[in-house]
Symmetry: C2
Subunit: 194 residues, 2 copies
């Protein structure tokens, strides 16, 4: 659907309002009417911007939350060109997930849209972007002569994405960020040794 700049702004306002609301509510039990009320939107507007109804809206919110996962790691994630920046990044990731705790807004949304077309792309696109930025950081460290060029940046970045994902999974199950911290520290130590 082609939207005018004003239409895009309205759609964005609905997505952001819904995102804030759904961070405090189970997306499974929230109704479109609840979301209409908190975002002060008419039924006609909702179905104009999200013809697929609740699933399409939740998927748009999931995409918004996925973007936030990366945004919350900036400016560090896109500037991994010194050991200090890797440490700052590690600290920012840990702080983010510590404050988030067991309840992951993106995961709660994804649980609701598993069969909605486009839901797989939200996750694969997030992992892909995340991995690319870490890989760019490894390349920057190699160019600066701080990390061996024997390492394959894409593979190292894939390991980082796996370790962080797993650490967040364990956090969701146990409420502790210990695994996330151990994983990031091991991988950064690995880079330092290389």
């Amino acid at each position: 659907m082609k939207l005018t700049p004003k239409g895009r702004a309205t759609r964005q306002r609905i997505v952001e309002g819904a995102a804030t609301y759904l961070r405090g509510t189970d997306p499974g039990t929230a109704t479109l009417d609840d979301i209409r009320t908190v975002t002060r939107t008419s039924k006609g507007q909702i179905f104009h911007y999200f013809p697929g109804g609740k699933d399409e809206l939740l998927l748009a919110v999931a995409r918004h939350e996925a973007d936030r996962v990366l945004l919350d790691q900036e400016p560090h994630l896109s500037r991994l060109d010194s050991w200090a920046s890797w440490t700052d990044w590690r600290d920012s990731v840990l702080a983010r997930y510590r404050s988030q705790g067991r309840r992951c807004p993106l995961a709660a949304l994804m649980d609701q849209v598993t069969t909605t077309p486009g839901s797989v792309e939200v996750v694969t696109e997030l992992l892909d972007q995340w991995q690319r930025r870490v890989a760019a950081g490894v390349v920057a460290m190699q160019e600066g002569g701080r990390v061996s060029t024997d390492l394959d940046p894409a593979r190292v970045a894939a390991a980082f994405v796996a370790g962080i994902q797993g650490g967040v999974q364990v956090l969701r199950a146990t409420g502790s960020t210990d695994h996330l911290e151990a994983s990031m520290d091991l991988m950064i130590d690995y880079l330092r040794a290389a």
Copy 2:
């Protein structure tokens, strides 16, 4: 519930039959009657062994699948005392998840019992056992003089659990074991360098 040896055997037969059946069926849509039919069990028997009904049975199957996750990694996981054994373990984990593909039987069950009492313990117990065995492997390598005693075995093992968990998460989302492989290889390389 105290069970006689015969009772334990019957309960185990039901759990194993249900596990086999639920590996090929969505546990969310499977009914107790379906499970009764495939395990040739009467309604009375099912409710005798699983008074809580479907949720209790699914949780018992989840516990069984969690045990299998570890069993499938044996004999390697409990004998990580040489570099060859770490490589064999890595290969067995990758082979297991490659053949399993996107559909994780344990995760499919856990999705159904998130609010059932005892479900959190199934996951935390699995992670704990897994981490302990990897930590014992790190200690064995330290005792053999192959890995620096500066490393904290519990933290290294936590990182392994996170990396494998995350790799399996990415496999579920993308169908690829590349992240799992990159993660295990990075962590074993890290140990070799230490």
